[in-house]
Symmetry: C2
Subunit: 211 residues, 2 copies
DNA sequence: TCATTCAGTAAACAGCTGTTCGCCGAGTCT
DNA sequence: AGACTCGGCGAACAGCTGTTTACTGAATGA
């Protein structure tokens, strides 16, 4: 096999991952455009020049982090959409899943929220592309539902985008709440559920909208 | 008068404004956390040390920019809310006003979108505070409308937050579209109007929501 | 008119940055 | 066993960074 790991590639992959981990950790308190190459290699305990064996740029490391952060999310979305038919339950579950995801991937979520409109163009583009893919997925999941009768394909994609943006906003809001303040956190999730209810209500009355 | 400008204070204010302008321009392609003090003073044509006569920090300059960017928005919001009663017209007008505002204050809007979840804590806090104030204003504007019957004060604030977040999202989306692509821009504003319609529809059917 | 205030200066500080270079030595392939 | 690949190293490069210092000179106020 040509792509059997081998001790060689395994070591390389390990260093690469260490660079990603250190970068993500350092991005807790700053944006990607101010993250230094030496800063990252120093945190890993490796020579500055070693960085170039893995990434040509800081931007490239950022793009790799986007993949890490949003790659594992597709399964989550599928689960959220597939579940029971009751709209109220579905909303509760979606918000709960989002909250749990933030807890497990706090640093990644912060990175996405921070760099979505951040100063590094390739990273912004990578995030936009990934979120666009999510929107397509959500739209595809919405289409077969009975509540989608009377919706054009284009309009359904707009609705899906509304859901996706709302999910990102909710994740960012949960992330910003201090961990030791469960009351504030409950307030955030309550608002998130309410927002989803408003949107879903608008969706279900779409057919009867007037002038 | 002790606070009459005087040639002295006028000159100082002028330099301060030049620092803000240069900073904002440089932030077109990077985030605040990577903006250098010398970079800004160089662009203005002033000695590095002069910076400290106006701001203790880059963070302080950032906070001042938040005020600049969002201070002039209150009047716009008031206008948008006050207008005609017809829901459809109100939506069209709101989106149009938002688009126009982006054109006039492109750099400021980019700054807000970029730093809302950016790496500089005091700036994030300033933006959150200002947006919170907007939310209160919108909630207060919504309350007296007939469509707000059956809404609790707390829920109205959540709805207002939804509108505000949606406005910021729309502004950011318009800002990202290239200026020489009116078709893409029309697509964005169409989606923005559609989103507002969904939300408004949900709002007006709030009373009859079920389990 | 004379003393005071203070925005802006020039220079120096130590310390950091990204990038290139040739070299080493362990893992790999034949 | 021998040739080769290639991830990581250490050193050097020019150039940049924020911050402090003592200063100048014009606007100010008595």
């Amino acid at each position: 096999m040509s792509h059997t790991p081998g001790a060689r590639q395994a070591q390389k992959e390990q260093t690469r991952q260490a660079l990603l981990d250190a970068g993500l950790q350092l991005l807790d308190r700053q944006s990607l455009s101010s993250l230094g190459l030496r800063e990252v290699t120093r945190a890993v305990g490796v020579a500055p020049a070693a960085f170039y064996r893995h990434f040509p740029d800081m931007a490239a490391l950022g793009v790799a982090l986007v993949g890490e952060a949003l790659g594992s999310l597709h399964a989550v979305i599928r689960d959220a959409l597939a579940g029971g038919q009751d709209a109220e339950d579905l909303i509760d579950r979606t918000v709960a899943v989002t909250a749990a995801y933030v807890d497990e991937h706090r640093a990644h979520i912060r990175f996405i929220a921070r760099e979505r409109y951040g100063g590094v163009q390739p990273v912004r583009a990578a995030i936009a592309a990934e979120l666009g893919r999510f929107t397509d997925e959500v739209a595809a999941g919405l289409a077969p539902q009975p509540a989608s009768a009377g919706w054009s394909v284009a309009d359904l994609r707009v609705l899906a985008g509304l859901y996706v943006d709302h999910m990102v906003l909710t994740a960012a809001a949960i992330m910003e709440v201090p961990e030791d303040d469960p009351a504030a956190r409950e307030e955030i999730t309550r608002a998130a559920r309410l927002r989803m209810q408003i949107i879903s209500l608008g969706r279900s009355h779409w057919a009867e909208r007037g002038a």
